[in-house]
Subunit: 406 residues, 4 copies
Amino acid sequence: MQDRAYAVFEEQQKNRGIDLEHVKSKLKSIEVETPSWGYGDSGTRFKVFKQEGVPRDPFEKFEDAAQVHKLTGICPSVAIHIPWDKVDDYDKLKRHAASLGVRIGAVNPNLFQEDDYIFGSVTNSNPAVRRKATDHLLECVQIARTVGSDALSLWFADGTNYPGQADIRKRKAWMQEALTEMYQAMDPAMRMLIEYKFFEPAFYHTDLADWGMAFNLANKLGPQAQVLVDTGHHPQGTNVEHIVAYLLDEEKLGGFHFNSRKYADDDLIVGSANPYELFLIFYQILEAAADTNAGVRRTADHIAYMIDQSHAIEPKIPAMLRSVLNVQTQYAKALLVNFDEVREAQARQDVLGAEDAVRSAYEIDVTPLLVALREEQGLPADPMKAYLQSGYGESILPRGKGGASW
Amino acid sequence: MQDRAYAVFEEQQKNRGIDLEHVKSKLKSIEVETPSWGYGDSGTRFKVFKQEGVPRDPFEKFEDAAQVHKLTGICPSVAIHIPWDKVDDYDKLKRHAASLGVRIGAVNPNLFQEDDYIFGSVTNSNPAVRRKATDHLLECVQIARTVGSDALSLWFADGTNYPGQADIRKRKAWMQEALTEMYQAMDPAMRMLIEYKFFEPAFYHTDLADWGMAFNLANKLGPQAQVLVDTGHHPQGTNVEHIVAYLLDEEKLGGFHFNSRKYADDDLIVGSANPYELFLIFYQILEAAADTNAGVRRTADHIAYMIDQSHAIEPKIPAMLRSVLNVQTQYAKALLVNFDEVREAQARQDVLGAEDAVRSAYEIDVTPLLVALREEQGLPADPMKAYLQSGYGESILPRGKGGASW
Amino acid sequence: MQDRAYAVFEEQQKNRGIDLEHVKSKLKSIEVETPSWGYGDSGTRFKVFKQEGVPRDPFEKFEDAAQVHKLTGICPSVAIHIPWDKVDDYDKLKRHAASLGVRIGAVNPNLFQEDDYIFGSVTNSNPAVRRKATDHLLECVQIARTVGSDALSLWFADGTNYPGQADIRKRKAWMQEALTEMYQAMDPAMRMLIEYKFFEPAFYHTDLADWGMAFNLANKLGPQAQVLVDTGHHPQGTNVEHIVAYLLDEEKLGGFHFNSRKYADDDLIVGSANPYELFLIFYQILEAAADTNAGVRRTADHIAYMIDQSHAIEPKIPAMLRSVLNVQTQYAKALLVNFDEVREAQARQDVLGAEDAVRSAYEIDVTPLLVALREEQGLPADPMKAYLQSGYGESILPRGKGGASW
Amino acid sequence: MQDRAYAVFEEQQKNRGIDLEHVKSKLKSIEVETPSWGYGDSGTRFKVFKQEGVPRDPFEKFEDAAQVHKLTGICPSVAIHIPWDKVDDYDKLKRHAASLGVRIGAVNPNLFQEDDYIFGSVTNSNPAVRRKATDHLLECVQIARTVGSDALSLWFADGTNYPGQADIRKRKAWMQEALTEMYQAMDPAMRMLIEYKFFEPAFYHTDLADWGMAFNLANKLGPQAQVLVDTGHHPQGTNVEHIVAYLLDEEKLGGFHFNSRKYADDDLIVGSANPYELFLIFYQILEAAADTNAGVRRTADHIAYMIDQSHAIEPKIPAMLRSVLNVQTQYAKALLVNFDEVREAQARQDVLGAEDAVRSAYEIDVTPLLVALREEQGLPADPMKAYLQSGYGESILPRGKGGASW
């Protein structure tokens, strides 16, 4: 059945002018980082539902993450959050990861869970708090160095709840001050990925509220600073793929936190609310990856794809698998866009033709392709089914409830 | 100074054709209920900042609430949340309240903080969970009876996170089933106030998502069921005062949960984000209170005004005071609308004249009026200042951190 | 190629437990009405770009609409707008339609383009204007009778731009009064479809602002009044398929105005912004069509599917074709949902399983199915390609610019 | 009466530590530009209601605008739109303006009303169209030179309606190319004010979609390029005053297009939907105007305040007056903020104290102040009343209907 399905698929793509070997090669090289915290309990302000089997420490988180990589083949790295993943011996954690076939990915400082940060961390008007927060950033640079990570992923909860509560422009200066100090402490090979978010937990203003603020800051800091786009961090009615294209063109797109939302920062399974948006993001990336400008191409080729989701009600590992598979699916579809066809339609200002050239790739079922790819790589044809049949989910139940949460 | 300010104010209002005795009488009779949970710790999914002095039990919550009433004179009742305010001896709580000069207000069931409710409470596909949830509703009716409360205020977190997760229409039927059972258990003098909310904590669909669903359900249940409008529970670009006017006209507006938001359900201090909206809500209410239809008038006169806010970073009692004072301020402004002037402008389709007649009341500074009113009632002219000078805030610090939270 | 593709498709669906004969039969019976005004010029407040070949009168509009039906086989009726499609001899128009293989569909009154309606039509405080507006509604009932249409599709631009501008509740009463008169004039077989919209052209309040207001009004009027859902008429963050399911359950969903939007009421090609939403709407409809309640089933089976879009920059007929094809595609996908699988997953509260059962149908490429279906029906395999090759687009160019617009 | 009211006001402000002479001096020096097109007919895509007495040419527009200045004393300049205000003899228009006591303000190119621009103007993939559009920009520079204007105010409707329709990044380059050419043609004293807007008339992507894109472009162009903030051009849930503060800090805020909105770009009377937002914008500006950084201060002092509204249903001149008065009112309130008090509360991280220090200024009724100011300046105490009694509105009725519109 799969053979026949793939044969039909292959012929269709050949007729569409698609080079399937190229597509497969791209699909084999994409890496999607999963976050250690995505394996722990999470929820809403109303309730965190504790699940059985949730990892109790960073080592167990890596074990779960390794399952996702083992089944999909595209998740070799795991982002860590400090102090959630603080351990005495990072070398041990690094070796543990390696023994599981994965590695430590981006290091994420945490500046929102201590009482001192009630009015901000690096933008707090209290210099002692700013010092403490900046020291934590420096500590994370050191941890990145220790664990061999080249990415520092920064999200700040800093902001205010009421008009007048604080001096917005002073806070802007303090943010720049702290990140400049951090930037200078980074090794040349390290990247600082600056995230932005328009609200939550701050409800009046957030210091880094949108891509423009993150971008301007990254520009001031230097080439090692780039913008991190979290797909759930924009007001309704924002064209996210436009921002992606814009940042690529400025060679300042550093990475993604993928998740999905219908309302606010819902942090749901990637691609579950509006899968077309994810496809259109990849379409912009692939478009830039073929640019005549080498800097743009290089930027497109070095994007850190990371998942950042918060499963409130669904089991953790399968939910992460689902996200990874959805990313892979939409990426595969975007690879099937015939860019020549798009460009020709654009050149003749054929609105419907150009739209059709993009959308029709989205409408293709890429299952035969992905199954073929997995078979070539010795991966299970259906990673979700393989997981459910593996017994792993049951094997971790003895961990009990009360695992790590945030 | 106040004397001269009030003299000027009085003359201005006389010139505008406003009957200040009527205004004062309305201001004396409005009651704004504060919620017991508003005195405890709260926060966002990222962090609950624990504050010193937060009440450790329902009795202490009533003590704090009594301060707000003592200083403002308009907050004689306190809403309770079950099981947060569950006590062995409700009579004792009732007497405690009375001794403090306040009473127990609306009873709020809680159906979102038990593990059983991960997939819903009264709309859970598991009949045992539905039974448990409905039993809790019935328990709350009994508690209302015990404490002499005539209002049951219902908010359901029930909903789903993903398309297909559950049968939306079956859940609709189960909601109706549970509330029918509860309705039948209520005493004739009791009111069921049905709240709605478009998202959070559910991120795909919420069973009671908007006023239309709450309204239709209240219609099916009967005259004792009405709609509760939480001012933060609407999508951006919703005209809340229109909904208020509509529900008044249908004699189905039961009450409010007042709070303020710029983004989602931010639950900030009432009137802090867009005070004009609060004024316009009161304008619609006063307009309905003068209707020729007795049912509409009665509805407008029996609205349960309740505050429902969640202070993440500011001290609890002053934040509650600020909300109450903001409600009072906007209500006072709305009372200064010259309705004849509005109606005459409307009758001649004078858009700018009608708008001006409403807005110009909003622009009046009602401080002299409120100070005069407070002096007449033996209340402090500036309740916030009086609170800060009272020493009460310091006196409760020995409660320590670690008080009640949700 | 198509043969092999269909063979694979057929086997896949068989394996998934899908009855393809049933699917095809449903696909053959769906009807999608196109609007006469969709063939004319339209645009934004900034500019209407006049296109060559646009129909100059209702007769030419029907000719264009007939092309769409000829190529797709599912668009046998055409909605008309009065007075845009006013003709001296409706019988002639009816015969013209019949001669083209189509018929006249819903009759749409127009109450927003005369100077008299600057402050509202049926909700205008001026009784003479209300009378005039109501008379137009009655005229449209008569036209429907004349042309043999059984649907009156009502959209009101009525609303206000400023707080205080008008008495919201009086306008509510006037709306009910006018529609009651219209309702009473309708023949028993006629349906009144009541549309709602939250803003534009009114920017403060719109008299029929949301589904709840349209629904309540339809309830008061009687069984022949139902709600019309325009997919672009909701605030951001509204779950449209939830509203669809709700109205189906209440047996009050009458029809759709399909179009697509990313921002406000953008009126773009159906399914071009978020095709998944359209699929999920059909999923809810098919779910209701299999309900145990006969009234719900009947409602689901009698939905009037209508397109209402406004092409500003793209050629009219191909844009309409694209919309129709996108509707057909998403409907076909929804027909491939294995409802038993969904229900079983729901029954065991398997969130990921249930979500997967729905989403996986969406991911299927239905091209082989639709091509097979078209071949069975003697329709072109690719209607868009057939249109472009037909020469029809060129043949109408002599109409010149300056055709009908709104 | 006014004397006593002002005496009370004066004493209150003295007690609050406000220097009223400073306040008055600031109020005397603010200038609010009105737009020529604001005096003509306008509307929505559904209908432009033609009003009697609307100006028939640029000369009459200036006559109407002069009324607004005569009555308020703060509107000495009038923005023009090319080609709407194209005249053969600009010197004559300039002299006409001078004879009326006003002058020509910002020059606004129009690149959205010609058929050539259906797929964009300066970002059109057709080089001939880009050339034409750029030539129009250069023409406007020349007109600015001719009429002695130092501001070119740029808004582009350019964007796309569908994914794939055009190459987003190429269009970005073309935008920069055209504006570079224009920038180089400007005189040293001229400013280019770059506006942004997230949607409408483009519904998929807009080339200059947000402040970040306008800001980045202005940065690339040079010091004479700055950002223009239109208060209605942001997604819901955007903190506009934060953007204002940010741009001030970067010395890149050039000006405003003031108007008011509840939904999308409603273009209503300034301050009619959420007056508090306007106040908070002025609060940020005044805060920056007192900065230690001279560049920030200078930026704050050179903001071009311009009104850009589109009255669909209300009479033009009174609507413009209302907007100007609302701007003046909110500016006056912001001048009453005691900045020392705010800063002290901020310094001790007193959230409620800081919020109160800002909000309490907003709650002050500034009528006595504005009346006193007007009396000092020989202006009518109530400009709106003075206008209505002036007979001007009646005097222009003979112009008839059918005046200028856009």
